[in-house]
Symmetry: C2
Subunit: 338 residues, 2 copies
Amino acid sequence: MKKKVTIHDLAKMLNIDSSTVSRALANSPRVKQKTRDLIQAKAKELGYSRNVVASNLRSKRTLTIGVVVPYISRYFFSTVIAGIEEHATENGYQVIICQSHDQIEREQQMIQTLLSYQVDGLLVSISMETENTDHLKHVLNQEVPLVLFDRKCNGLSLPTIHIDDFQMGYEATKHLIDQGCRRIVHFTGSDQISIYHDRKQGYCQALKDHGLVVSEELILTSALKEADGKLLAQQVLDMPLRPDGIFCANDLTAISAMQLLIEKGVKIPEDIAFVGFSNEPLGNYLSPALTSVNQNPKEIGKVAMQTLLGELSTKPSPDTDRLVPAHLVVRASSLKKG
Amino acid sequence: MKKKVTIHDLAKMLNIDSSTVSRALANSPRVKQKTRDLIQAKAKELGYSRNVVASNLRSKRTLTIGVVVPYISRYFFSTVIAGIEEHATENGYQVIICQSHDQIEREQQMIQTLLSYQVDGLLVSISMETENTDHLKHVLNQEVPLVLFDRKCNGLSLPTIHIDDFQMGYEATKHLIDQGCRRIVHFTGSDQISIYHDRKQGYCQALKDHGLVVSEELILTSALKEADGKLLAQQVLDMPLRPDGIFCANDLTAISAMQLLIEKGVKIPEDIAFVGFSNEPLGNYLSPALTSVNQNPKEIGKVAMQTLLGELSTKPSPDTDRLVPAHLVVRASSLKKG
DNA sequence: CTGTTAGCGCGTTCAC
DNA sequence: GTGAACGCGCTAACAG
């Protein structure tokens, strides 16, 4: 019913110029306090609301940032987004969220769309498929700040927020060793993907540091999809010499692997101890026998947004990477008694 | 580096008018195929990308819809959003997502912001606190289509997407009765909130239809926060006559209630059978003893978006509510053997 | 088929 | 302190 009220409407009613109204609404000190109050009162009275689209066009900033993640409904990502969103809102920024479905083509298209929306900055967790980085370079050419999180990008030097994957791989493995495990399997993903690469390196280093040998047949590589968990677990059960520990570099896979083990009557951690990555709230409930690496997704989101805000204000980006502290969540019932 | 290319740049280079360029890029048949091709080729060559903000200002539509949910990181909502997003993208719409944190104040503010962004439509799951609906009326006054999902709004007649809560409450309770339960507790929320009201009605009706009495002391009301689960479960254990079935009208609460029961050594379903609401992937993993109502969140998102698209094209909104089919997920291990 | 004109609503000069 | 004028990039309306 009510037509949209513009600053011109307000101006006419008060017999002043629209630019004054504009300034008053922006609380500019260049307009007398009295007229400011008057204008703001009238604005509220008429239910005026600023047309952000017009404002954006003129001011060439949208106070909007774009976020691209593989899947919004994965707990890790939705929690990262919650962190981003909270911190963004506090700083007056809006957030537009897109899913890439882990497909580079969609990722490229979404980023292009976000750019055409004139977003002020971009927060991206690149897809598993992403090897070609032309679309990311394109973003930089447009001088739009870009911060990555979770997944690092090989070719390009970009600020990236992630946990210390090497360190956590090391700690996870050390935990198993401390529990008395001597034959520890590692489920990993493509070595091209740096998070998996690094976690594996941490695993290897921990073994070496504790006088254990790194054996290739204990390192099982897969796409780490949910279904892979059961396949991998079965592979472990079929091994002639049964392993006594598993470190899985991925959350979904860890869960489904544990499922199979439990179904098959394997006692965890007595028969095989298990360390996975966190998939809260699953990790909280699923199995008290699951030790996991808590990646702190909300914190990752917060730090990512902070970093982007930094880029937004000052051009120089000194630090390339920022590590978010992660830690092992060990439950009493996940400890071997022996 | 590269400055942003505008249609004027293209126009000058090709010695034609900018409006022709505009039409060509919109693939309007009013431009000769040949010049269209020429222009589009040049556009691609120079890396032109339409300034959507300017376009929106002029065309008075943003092809953007706003979504407001209590918490983005809850599985139910993030999955609804995934459904919305998929269907929106397919139809050329962008999605902006906001969290209300279940606070009416934030909800009002977010909706106001989205309106100032000139969104073409709004999809809202109202907060638990929402009783005053002025801000929703305001949306309608602005003639912006508004569709609710999950939570219904009492005062206002608005298209709302939800499951058949009465029916599911009935089925859940009937399932317990069929398993041999005779003393069935119901965890419910505020009777003001229609989903809880309806689920409770279904519970009551099922009892009556099967010759059981509705007993007030078996109906436990709380805010249904996560922490309430444990409190409620303890209450059940403390009852002089121990119940043999529980129907919980909420996901988070169901999970934490089960947790406590399991901790206390209660055998589910042998001692007490349990039906909750789905919180996938939790429901899949947590406990094979948990029967739950699958609310089909992705489908809810899809239907919500469809409904909104309908409102977006044709003004009349005939149907006020749309029910999304839900169903009980019963696992073999959740059946009482007796 | 294409060009011309005139804004969309707001922010930013400049003068005053 | 305030107002007039202009332009952001694009598109609707009307010519021709």
